[in-house]
Amino acid sequence: MTDATLSFEEAMEKYDPVLGFEVHVELNTKTKMFSSAPNVFGDEPNTNVNEVDLGMPGVLPVVNKTAIESSIKIGLALNCKIAEKCRFARKNYFYPDTPKNFQTSQYDEPIAYDGYLDIELSDGTIFRVEIERAHMEEDAGKLTHMGGATGRIQGAEYSLVDYNRSGVPLVEIVTKPIEGAGSRAPELAKAYVAAVREIVKNLGVSDAKMERGNVRCDANVSLRPHGRERFGIRSETKNVNSLRAVEHAVRYEIQRHAAVLDSGEPVTQETRHWHEDTRTTTSGRAKSDADDYRYFPEPDLVPITASREWVEELRATLPEPPAARRKRLQADWGYSELEFRDVVNAGVMDEIEETIAAGATPTVARKWWMGEIVGRAKNADVDPGQLGVKPATIVELNKMVEDGKINNKMASEVLDGVLAGEGTPAEIVEKRGLAVVSDDAPLLEAIDAALAAQPDVADKIRGGKVQAIGAIVGGVMKATRGQADAGRVRELILQRLGVEG
C-alpha cells in the first residue's frame, strides 16, 4: 500500500517540521567493546567472536580502554560536557541480534552530554544543532532474512545470524529536538549527518563508511501547524544509511505526515523502514510494550570515572576541527568562496585534497572532480567518491593532456575506460588507439577540404572575422573523428589563410 503525500511545497505552507537524529557511530578499535575478539568487517561469519560476544553463561565483560578514549574524544568534538562518573546499563529485549537478550548500553548516565554542532548549509548559513547526549553501547549481530521475496523481514521464513558485529563499540549521538529549519529541514538533515561523519573520520575513531554501516542514522520527524509550540507526533525512520537517503527520507516523511494531518487523522507514533529503491518509507512496528526495556545498572561492570586531567590530555590530542580545516584548505588552494562551497557541497573536498597530494595543482584537481567526475556520479546516482576514481589516474590523465598526447575529449573517454576496469590510462590510450594526430600533413589535408567546403567562411576569416574559424575547426575535428589537437588546427588554418591569430 502506498501512503498519500502532499507536495513538499504545500506541506511547508501548512506545517512546521521538527527533527531529531540518533546517529550510531561504530568505533574502529582493534577489539570489541567488552571482549578481546577482533573488530573487523566482512570476515567469515561467527569467527570474530568469543564467549563474551556469544553471551555464554558465566562470562564477564571487560571494558576496552581505547573505546572509552574514543568516546570522550567524540564528546569533546561535539562540544559536550564529559561526565566525571558514568556507568553502563542493560537494555533488555528479546531479538536474535543479541544472544544475551540484553544490549549493554548507557541509560541515565551517558559519558557525554549537553553539546552542540554548528552546521553550515549550502549557502553558507550556520544552523546550530544541540546535542542531548552521546553514549556508549555495543553493536548487535547481523540478521539475514531468508525465504521472503525481497530479503526483507516481511514474508521471511527464517533468519540467519552472524555475530561478528556483536559487541563492536558504538557511540550513539542523540540531538535535542531541532526546530526552525523550515523548508531546509531535508538539507539540514543531510548536512548534520555529514558533519558528524566528518568529525568522527577526522578524529580517526571510526572508518566512517556509511555504505558499511559505520555511521547509521535514525531520523525523527514530526510536523505541527505554524505557530503552535507543542510538537506533533513523530515517526522514527530507521537505518537511513547514506547522506542522500537521509535527505530524501526526511523530505518524504514531511510529505507523508502532512497528508495524514490534512486528512484529519493523527500521525501514528511508529518506526518506519526506509526503502532506497522507491524512496519511500513503510510502517514498522508501532511503539508498544516491547519498548519497555527495563533498563537497570550493569552489575558486571564497574563505573567509569573521567578525571579532568585525563579529559584534558585527550582534548590536547584532538586534530584540527573540520570547519577550521575547510578554512585552511580554501586559503591553501586559492579557491573563491563560491568555488570552495561548490566543492564542499559536491562532497569532493577530501578527494581533491588527495588528488593535490598525488601531484595535481588545485586548479586541475578541481576541474576534474567538479567536471568529469561529478557529472558521472550524478548520472550513476552515487556519491562522487564512490565512483572509484583514483587520484593517480587524474594526475596521469592530466599529464597526457598537458603533454599534448591526448586532448580533453579523449581524456574523458580514457576515464570511462579506467572506470570500466580496462586498465591504466596509458594502456587504454594504447588499446583504443587514442592519440592526438600531431603530424600536420593529414591535418592540412582536412583543413583544405573544410575550407573548400565552406568558401564563404574562409572569406570571412580572410576578411578579419577570426571568430568564424570555429566552423572550420569543427569540420576538421569531424573529419579526424576528434583526434586532432584543436589548438594546433586553429594555428594551421590561420597560417593557411595568411591571417594573424
Binding site: 577489539t31 561467527n46 569467527t47 571494558v63 580502554k65 521471511a156 552489575p299 564497574v302
Partner: protein, 98 residues
Amino acid sequence: MAAINRDDVAHLAQLAHIEMSAEELDRMAGELAVIVDSVKSVSEAAGDDVPATSHPIPLTNVFREDVVGHTFTAEQSLNGAPDAYEGRFKVPAILDED
C-alpha cells in the same frame, strides 16, 4: 499498600517472555509484593546524604588494553546452536511475534 500489583506482574511476565497462569499471577503478585516492601526498608535506612550506588565494590575504570585475544572458529561458535546454516545461527522468522 503494595508497590506491585497483579497487573504489574502480568506485564513483567509478558516482557520477560514468561507464560503464567491466573493462579501463578495471583500467587506471584503476593510474593513479589512482600519482596518489594522488604527492599523498600533499604531506602528508609539510606538518607539523602547517601548516594545511590549500582555496584558494591568501590572500584572504577577496570579496563582492558585494545589488544586482540582469542576467537572461536565458526564450528566452535555454532556448537550447541539448536539450528545452523552455512556458518550462521538459524532462527525462526521473528516479525510476527510482536
